[in-house]
């Protein structure tokens, strides 16, 4: 019935994990990894860029502080599927569809940690800086932020790890990185592809967390050995 010479493909099993899968798809894995890392960096960078002014603003008045924190908490409670799908029609294929919700989710962690860090700056330190003739913006960027850095990096660790995990859901609306692969694995019923990219997501989070932990220790050598988070 079937004409000879049809296309044949070497049968691969559908195990949960296979080394052969990793070696024969190394190219796809590397490009998905670079996409995933880029999306994560973009989202966290945007989150950080927004959270520093938000935290600075929150310190002005108590009502601002609680309003901003409540707003961030509420944003965080919005389910990711809803948030991402809501932006598809606005940004189409743009990476912003995925980057904006992820940045929004990182706000609650980052703003809280920046505030904690800024609160640690003692009044005497600020008075001393003022005594040296530093203006308020300069005090913020030269004195307050550097002192708050350890707390900010601790927040960054949490934000990066959860962002790496959240990028995956972006695959549902055509976002890149491991998400695209996870949903491809779902559509092609490939246990191997799904499990591989789940494990890769965890590994990536672990690596990113370790790198940030290292950074944290490098910039705050006096805190070495102390428990964080």
């Amino acid at each position: 019935m079937r004409p000879p010479g049809g296309f044949t493909f070497h049968k691969q099993g559908n195990p949960w994990l296979s080394w052969h899968y990793i070696t024969s798809n190394s190219h796809a894995i590397l490009s998905a990894t670079s996409e995933h890392v880029t999306l994560t960096i973009e989202a966290v960078a945007l989150g950080l860029a927004l959270s520093i002014p938000l935290a600075a603003l929150a310190r002005q008045r108590q009502w601002l502080r609680s309003t901003i924190m409540n707003f961030c908490t509420a944003l965080y409670a919005v389910p990711s599927l809803a948030f991402i799908v809501a932006l598809v029609k606005v940004f189409n294929l743009s990476r912003l569809t995925v980057v904006i919700p992820l940045a929004a989710y990182s706000l609650v962690i980052l703003v809280r940690n920046i505030l904690t860090g800024l609160d640690e700056v003692s009044g005497e330190t600020v008075d001393a800086a003022r005594g040296m003739g530093l203006s308020n913006p300069r005090i913020f960027f030269r004195v307050r932020l550097p002192i708050a850095t350890p707390a900010i990096v601790a927040g960054l660790r949490l934000a990066v790890v959860s962002t790496i995990e959240l990028v995956v859901i972006g695959g549902y609306v055509g976002g890149g990185g491991y998400g695209a692969k996870v949903f491809e694995g779902f559509n092609t019923k490939s246990h191997t592809e799904l499990a591989t990219y789940i494990v890769l997501t965890v590994l990536l989070a672990l690596i990113a967390d370790s790198l940030l932990l290292l950074t944290q220790r490098l910039i705050t050598p006096w805190r070495r050995g102390m428990a964080t988070s």
Binding site: L81, K89, E165
Partner: protein, 249 residues
Amino acid sequence: MSSYLLPAVGVVSQRVNNSTWHQITTWFTTASTWAWHGENGEAGVAQLFWEHVWISGLSLLIATAIGIPLAVALTRWRRGGLVVTSVANAARSIPIVGVMLLLAVGPVGVGTESAIIPLVVFAIPPLLTNAYTGIRDVDPEMTDAATGMGMSRLQVTRRVELPLAIPLIATGVRLAAVQVWATATIAAIIGSGGLGQLIVVGYATQAYGEVYGGIIVVAVTAVALDMSLLRAQRGVRRRYGSLAPIEGS
């Protein structure tokens, strides 16, 4: 503040045109939207809401039944703290949507079970960490005194440790509940129903009323749950006190 927002609003209103607004308002104002069944027998918001409550409630219940006794057991073990932090860290980095999809194409199959298993598993870490910390931070003098009064190990746990840990356990329950409610939305991708179905089906058929209506319903219920649980948690704190005054007693 509003002037900064204007460009963004401009983009949104440009891309989301009149017919989309019309579809959304129609969706909200049609009675059958909110009914148990829609006009063509499709699930209405009432039914989907009930499914969502059921899936989330069941998952939270199972997770609590596992998480709290596990926390108690781990406080009895020298390395318990390490286990608790490892579990919490691992849970943060595992992509739950991936796990759901894997279960759906794997042994469990498409449907509610593939959703409930990861919902339970991922609800355990917040319950576990908070309950563990709550019990561990109970003043040893309190438990010693109770033991001295002749209470058994189990009685000490039930009458002293757990009540004193309630404020933190409540925090854990709130975090787990909010997370389960939000994640149950994703479960609609693997056909487990719930409010997420509005988004998934609406998105696939590009029915904007359903998509944006679904998004709003999902977001509002999630935020409302978070807010009301936060309020309830504060109530619990007031009633049982935080750990600080207990140390003074």
